[in-house]
Subunit: 291 residues, 2 copies
Amino acid sequence: MYTLDQVKCFVAVASHLHFGRAAEELSMTQPPLSRQIQKLERFVGVTLLERDNRRVSLTPAGEAFLVNARMLLAVSDRAPRDAQRIAAGQWGRLSVGFTAASGFGILGSLVSVIEDRLPGIDLDLHEMVTGSQLENLAEGHIDLGIGRLEVPPQEIESELLLAERLMLAAPERHPLALLDRPLHRSDVTGQPLILHSATKATYFYNLIVRHFPIDHHMIKHSLSQVLTMVNLVADGHGIAFVPESTSLLKIPGVRYLAFADLTDDVVELKALWNSQSRNPALQRVLSVIRD
Amino acid sequence: MYTLDQVKCFVAVASHLHFGRAAEELSMTQPPLSRQIQKLERFVGVTLLERDNRRVSLTPAGEAFLVNARMLLAVSDRAPRDAQRIAAGQWGRLSVGFTAASGFGILGSLVSVIEDRLPGIDLDLHEMVTGSQLENLAEGHIDLGIGRLEVPPQEIESELLLAERLMLAAPERHPLALLDRPLHRSDVTGQPLILHSATKATYFYNLIVRHFPIDHHMIKHSLSQVLTMVNLVADGHGIAFVPESTSLLKIPGVRYLAFADLTDDVVELKALWNSQSRNPALQRVLSVIRD
DNA sequence: TGGAATAATGCACGAAAGGCATCGATGTAC
DNA sequence: GTACATCGATGCCTTTCGTGCATTATTCCA
């Protein structure tokens, strides 16, 4: 096999048609340059340069080789730079798993910021529930998750993206929507309730149970998708707890009500990633998220 | 700079994700393979392969490098083969200069034969008079000429392509066209004559003067292009000498007549080339022509 | 806990690359 | 026509690099 150095030598000589000046460009002396060309020609088995002791010229075979040689140099030059850029996280691909709920609020601005600040990074967006995000993170199928959970499992790191209030979605003619005083947590007692599933939407279920006196006899539906819940509210099937950002969803017949005695931002949205991840783009994206 | 051997090592390891088996494929032992990879990574400045003492995997940078690496190997493999094929004359480009007259007869079949027998060779066809062919051959602008001349100059070699009879082109109502006996050379004496130019079509001029008793008072036109001459014959301006192949040109009002006392193939068409030519395609074409 | 698997490292040898000096051939000038 | 300049090739020496063998270090698995 020949070497890229020999190719570089050949291109230099073919460009100058002069061994001495080519050697100068290559920062070497002329004798080893002659030998490198000889070696290359011996490997190729063909005379590439016609040396006339007075003038140097390319043979037809040499001209054809020159085309490929320039391509080799171009690719060999690009290859390390591509690798370096990817290692530095300037280039790359990031698979992101996000919950449908996060899509209402933060996802759009997150994508905008990344496209703006890290133009070399392509995002693959996949909607999935938090549980799937954890599985896919563990198996390396996605690099970043955007979801809700209290305590991430082993090897999954997390960072708070957003915290918001918990609100009540109620039909506009519902008694709680027509109160002439501030709404309190105890007001929900005894009302027909559309609640998150304890198994499929554990985070919300636990959060709500922790903060409200839930009468389990009043639970009419157990769901996992916020949009479905709000639609059921619109149809008058009951009231539901939703994060504040859901109120961006203007559904006719639905009013969003704040609790006077629950003003803390208790609903959290977290960025999730595998601490074993070797994707440099992830670190870049995380540092952008932190700003 | 790194070497193509290192690239080959990297691709082998990246393909097998196993140093031992990659080394086996490369017909080398494992330790130097490890070192080649280390060297490549040191040059690139980036970890390309994650070695876990138990499993080998590609980093994102390594995956990007692999794409370029495979391209490098493909080009580096093709480059010598292209050069060899061109040197062997299997591939290449041949510039051919030909006279308009040769275009009537042999050129078409010549092109067909070359396209059939040497499919890798592209022909550039340029119509030019023999004198221009000689100039362009000397300067290397064309590789092969097809023309008529008696003695080629220094450094130009030639080979007879075709020899044919010299015939007379006469208007169909011309007395010589209406003879009830065989035509003889002496019959042309005294007839208005359309003759080749002594300077622009020296070959024909010398040939005709050598074989016929030309009365210079009867020369009505001196021309260099056969087609023009035959057109003038059709218009009744006189008679003209033409090579037999011209009779393929069916011009209304023109008859082609053979001389009973000149049956030799005296008109020659030659292949011409520069003996200094380094174009391997030329040798291939010449050997095909000789068949 | 011991053995198998696997990549890294130490060491020695031979090949290759580079620099310096020189040769050989060819064109140029007086 | 002869002396000189130019320029690629060659001889020789030193340093660097690639390779194989033997061994080490680590981890997985029984």
